[in-house]
């Protein structure tokens, strides 16, 4: 397939369609409105259904219903809407339902603003919905990568029957860029007849898609199963890019659009002979601990940089087992740290390293 000039959000929507998603339930919120708008026109063309719900609460529960009968389904929203969806996310994790949710993050807290942000890292990785469960969270670094990862998002959701959240900042959503949308693989990783509602005729017996276990022994057994599943995900599904870190003394850690900027910074400083590198988690939950642990022994300092006040810091510090000092530079409220700002911070830190 060749490259076409597309707006980020529309490219994400088309990538989902190519990945076999036929159903979308959503509610308008900036900066992701083009996803539902695109889906409302596109899905009927592939025999699917788009429905505008009365709220994100309803949208996420419609998502739950569609997934509970074994269909490939997604929704998208932005930060305040994702907060409302967190109720259903907890239920879907408990009920082991494969769904994909895209959060085109905007600046918070509260209504915050509509400009780009990465302020929902904590919510995505450890704060969405009540109870003992984990989400798989993808944090692509560019529009092309987001588009490439949509198939993977659906595959992971089905493989583990677990909700998958894709977080991208508003820059990725709103950018106009030439992208290549991969054709879908058509692969399915689960057989709904085995577990989904709506197949009693094919299965010959009824099922209950549930998260309620009033008996503590049953609930502990269920939660043990979820935990074992998560261990397998931690073992097999981390994803991280290391860029010029082999001999780096200073390593920048970043995800999403900030990592794209940080890569230019690395290139600029390398031209001046400075040993600088970049480590970029692509799957942020489970966090790629092994990639941080195995950073080159030349690494003396890590600069974590984000579009928030340092939400990934805790993971980065734990990732290097607190053996390497980590400092932070970030912007908030809708600003992205600029190339110049990150470069200045790197120079300052590098000089101190001696």
């Amino acid at each position: 397939m060749e490259k076409t000039l597309m707006k980020g959000t529309e490219a994400i929507a088309e990538a989902a369609v190519q990945a076999g998603c036929k159903y979308f339930f959503g509610y308008p919120i900036t900066p992701q409105n083009e996803i539902p708008e695109y889906m409302s026109k596109r899905l009927p063309e592939v025999g699917g259904v788009y429905l505008q719900a009365e709220s994100e609460l309803a949208a996420s529960n419609m998502l739950l219903g569609a997934a509970a009968v074994g269909e490939r389904v997604m929704t998208s929203s932005s930060s305040p809407g994702i907060s409302l969806m967190s109720e259903a996310v907890s239920y879907m994790a408990g009920q082991e339902l494969p769904v994909v949710i895209v959060n085109v993050m905007r600046a918070g807290p509260g209504l915050g603003g509509i400009l780009p942000s990465q302020a929902d890292y904590n919510q995505a990785t450890c704060g969405i919905g009540h109870g003992d469960f984990n989400l798989i969270v993808l944090a692509p670094g560019s529009l092309q990568e987001t588009v490439n990862l949509m198939q993977k998002a659906f595959d992971l959701a089905e493989k583990y029957r677990n909700p998958v959240l894709v977080i991208c900042d508003g820059v990725i959503g709103q950018i106009m860029e030439a992208v290549e949308i991969p054709n879908g693989t058509g692969a399915r990783y689960t057989n709904p007849v085995e577990w989904a509602a709506g197949y009693m005729d094919k299965r010959g017996s009824s099922v209950i898609v549930r998260s309620l276990y009033l008996d503590a022994e049953d609930l502990e057994a269920h939660n043990r199963k979820l935990e074992a599943k998560w261990r397998t995900i931690v073992e097999n599904e981390t994803m991280c890019e290391k860029y010029r870190t082999e001999d780096a003394k200073l390593v920048i850690s970043a995800f999403g659009t900030v990592a794209r900027i940080a890569r230019s910074v690395v290139n600029n400083l390398r031209e001046e002979g400075m040993q600088v590198g970049l480590i970029r988690p692509i799957v942020v939950s489970p966090f790629p601990v092994a990639d941080f642990e195995s950073l080159s022994p030349t690494c003396k300092h890590i600069l974590d940089t984000e579009m928030n006040w340092g939400q990934m810091l805790r993971d980065v510090k734990a990732g290097v087992r607190y053996n390497i000092p980590v400092s932070f530079y970030g912007r908030s409220g809708g600003f992205c740290p600029s190339e110049q700002e990150i470069e200045d911070e790197c120079r300052r830190l590098y000089a101190e390293l001696g």
Binding site: M62, L64, G65, A66, E87, M200, D201, S206, I208
Partner: protein, 251 residues
């Protein structure tokens, strides 16, 4: 001697002992749902949505596929299922707290879209599962654990008449209020439930049956007193009858 069967357990009834309190009407309503499902021959393609409330355990009695909902969200889940699997028969079963309080937005919008689903709405004028707190349908002056000197309109507003409210909308196909308490009302209950499923089979659209029900435990009454209280207090405020019926014109 030939034997004649005059009554038997519905096929889609699981045949287990009830956990509901003595005098509770959930069991009767469950059974009539099973009967309707059997009569229409739709057991293997029916998907029920279990609510949050005493009746979450409906799936222990009714042998069809079930999906559990968060409190109040059943109509949204039913919408999601029906839109992607229109060949399934989808019904939600919801209490008054579930449907008329926390889930008011979901039911209003499902009705307004005319979703081709069946809703069985059980109004017992109280929160059963959590121990007898005020419901949106609690009558004025009715005592509950959170309105201990009786519901006062100035503080807690008025009981909500769900059928009347939903009947103001264009889309719903069928809305009727029946009672599960006295014997004399049971034929109407059976017919209404069957019609609400039949409508869906025929693609007629949104059908809701409100069933007035007793909760002797949380009303603090003996079962027979509860039946009388329903007849003398609930029915005058929540009149029985059809509020909307595409077949027979507007009631």
């Amino acid at each position: 001697m030939t034997e004649k069967t005059i009554y038997k357990r519905p096929k889609s009834w699981k045949g287990v002992h009830t956990h509901y309190c003595p005098g509770c009407t959930h069991g009767i309503i469950h059974k009539m749902i099973c009967q309707a499902i059997d009569e229409l021959g739709i057991q293997e393609k029916t998907v029920g949505i279990a609510p949050v409330g005493c009746a979450v355990l409906i799936y222990n009695y009714t042998d069809v596929d079930f999906v559990e909902a968060a409190h109040g969200r059943a109509p949204a889940i039913a919408t999601g299922i029906k839109r992607v699997r229109p060949d399934r028969i989808v019904f939600s079963y919801q209490g008054d707290g579930d449907l008329a309080s926390i889930g008011m937005a979901e039911i209003v919008h499902a009705a307004n879209r005319g979703e081709n689903i069946t809703v069985i709405f059980v109004n017992n004028a109280i929160y059963g599962m959590t121990g007898g707190q005020m419901a949106p349908t609690t009558l004025l002056e009715q005592k509950t654990t959170t309105t201990q000197s009786g519901r006062d309109a100035h503080e807690a507003g008025y009981p909500i008449r769900v059928c009347e409210m939903l009947a103001t909308m264009e889309a719903p196909a069928y809305i009727e209020r029946v009672s599960a308490a006295s014997y004399k009302h049971l034929p109407a209950l059976r017919n209404a439930i069957k019609k609400a499923f039949q409508n869906q089979v025929e693609g007629k659209g949104f059908s809701l049956v409100e069933v007035l029900s007793t909760c002797p435990t949380n009303w603090g009454m003996r079962p027979l007193d509860a039946v009388n209280w329903l007849d003398t207090h609930m029915i005058p405020f929540f009149p029985l009858g059809k509020f909307k019926d595409f077949d027979g014109g507007e009631a």
